[in-house]
């Protein structure tokens, strides 16, 4: 479904990586690994369509993503380093607004359910600025529960989460793969996810 061909990334006059090739089928997970500064985030941003590769092409269902535009974005959920939440809005407002902007409107009940599942019950009406780092991460990740996209691109999703939350997220990832989704993620932790195929990509 998702295919990268001869991808290269150049930052300034430094070449971060080149000739990256991979092909992901439904139900598979790609874990991108490598030391700090090796271009993991740059690669993920390319896969989202936020930046263009210096060379090579990314294909989604056989079509180059740069010619797909909006149709591609409807299939992708990206959760990056930045949480993508507004400090001044409450937890539930954040979830409902970010979902609506991503193209699927959810009711207050649906949002409440998702937040309960993420262990944020009772905190729905708090502004995000009073939450801890881990709780903010949970708010951002709650989007995964309410979205209906196929491709999940997650940049260090497990950072700042406690052991319980890590288990919860791994469960979510497993369910998504079983439904035929595709996941590309970076993490320094070992992940324990049962999947049809788990690929690892090392950037050096």
């Amino acid at each position: 479904m998702l295919q990268g061909v001869n991808l290269a990334c150049v930052r300034g006059d430094r070449e971060l990586f080149k000739d990256i090739n991979f092909s992901l089928e439904t139900g598979s997970l790609l874990q991108v690994r490598g030391p700090n500064g090796s271009g993991k985030t740059s690669l993920l941003r390319m896969l989202c369509g936020l930046s263009n590769p210096a060379a090579g092409e990314i294909f989604w269902n056989g079509t180059a993503i740069r010619s797909l535009d909006g149709d591609y974005f409807a299939d992708v959920t990206y959760i990056g380093h930045l949480s993508g939440t507004k400090d001044d809005l409450t937890v539930i407002e954040n979830l409902r607004i970010s979902s609506a902007l991503a193209g699927f409107e959810i009711s207050a009940n649906q949002a409440g359910e998702a937040l309960k599942h993420m262990g944020l019950k009772g905190r729905e009406a708090l502004p995000v600025k009073v939450l801890s780092q881990g709780q903010r991460r949970r708010v951002a990740l709650a989007r995964l529960l309410v979205c209906s996209t196929t491709l999940w691109i997650l940049d260090e999703p497990l950072v700042a989460l406690d052991v319980m939350a890590v288990k919860l997220i791994q469960g979510l990832l497993e369910q998504h793969l079983q439904r035929g989704g595709v996941i590309v993620m970076t993490t320094h932790q070992e992940i324990e996810v049962a999947a049809a195929s788990i690929m690892q990509l090392y950037l050096a």
Partner: protein
């Protein structure tokens, strides 16, 4: 989606009222400083009024441009907006509209009151308000391009004024011109029609240009 982005930005503005009030008070103070410094020479004040009010409106609207995208850029919500399946231009239009509601509309409402300080006759006050009502959305729309282009740059605040102020000049000329024409007993329809034309052109072109700039800024 268009409604959601407006609702979101208005909600954020309500939670941070100080930002909105700073712009409005800046406008009020700048406009009020002139009669105090120039002295109570009625004829001179009347001649100056349209120009002063319009320049103050330009500066006030520019003061808040930095916030249009910068906060969303810092916390990653702008990134998410770029990944929205809906048109980014529409989203920018929504943000510019929200910016106008928050910064432009209070100026328009305040202008007739401030005009009294300059001893403007009632019909001139009406023309001034009408011209501002048509012209301030143009300021927000053109400003969106400047804000998008300077996103993430150091010293972007100064740069945005250099980029955007020259583009505001036509609106300024015809906006102030409408009031002057009215006071000289001439027809002001042509001036207002031209501002209306600027408004329509910027509704079509500015969101598209700002969206393209955002894509470049976030790459």
């Amino acid at each position: 989606m268009f409604m959601w982005i407006i609702k979101r930005d208005l909600l954020l503005a309500m939670r941070r009222q100080s930002d909105v009030l700073t712009t409005l008070f800046f406008f009020i103070i700048v406009v009020s400083l002139f009669p105090l410094s120039v002295g109570p020479e009625m004829n001179m004040l009347r001649t100056m009024a349209p120009g002063v009010v319009w320049v103050a409106a330009l500066l006030a609207s520019m003061l808040s441009l930095g916030r249009m995208f910068a906060n969303d850029y810092v916390d990653g919500t702008l990134e998410q907006m770029l990944l929205s399946p809906q048109s980014l231009s529409l989203l920018v239009l929504g943000k510019a509209f929200a910016h106008w509601l928050v910064t432009g509309v209070p100026l328009v409402l305040m202008a007739p009151v401030l005009g009294i300080q300059y001893d403007l006759p009632a019909d001139a006050l009406f023309v001034l308000t009408a011209a501002l009502l048509l012209g301030t959305p143009v300021l927000s729309l053109i400003g969106a391009i400047g804000a998008a282009l300077t996103l993430g740059l150091r010293g972007g605040g100064v740069l945005v004024s250099l980029l955007v102020l020259p583009l505001y000049i036509p609106v300024l000329i015809f906006g102030a011109g409408a009031v002057e024409a009215n006071m000289a007993g001439m027809d002001f329809d042509a001036h207002l029609s031209l501002i209306g034309a600027f408004l329509l052109a910027s509704i079509v072109l500015a969101p598209w240009a700002a969206a393209a700039s955002l894509r470049v800024s976030l790459e």
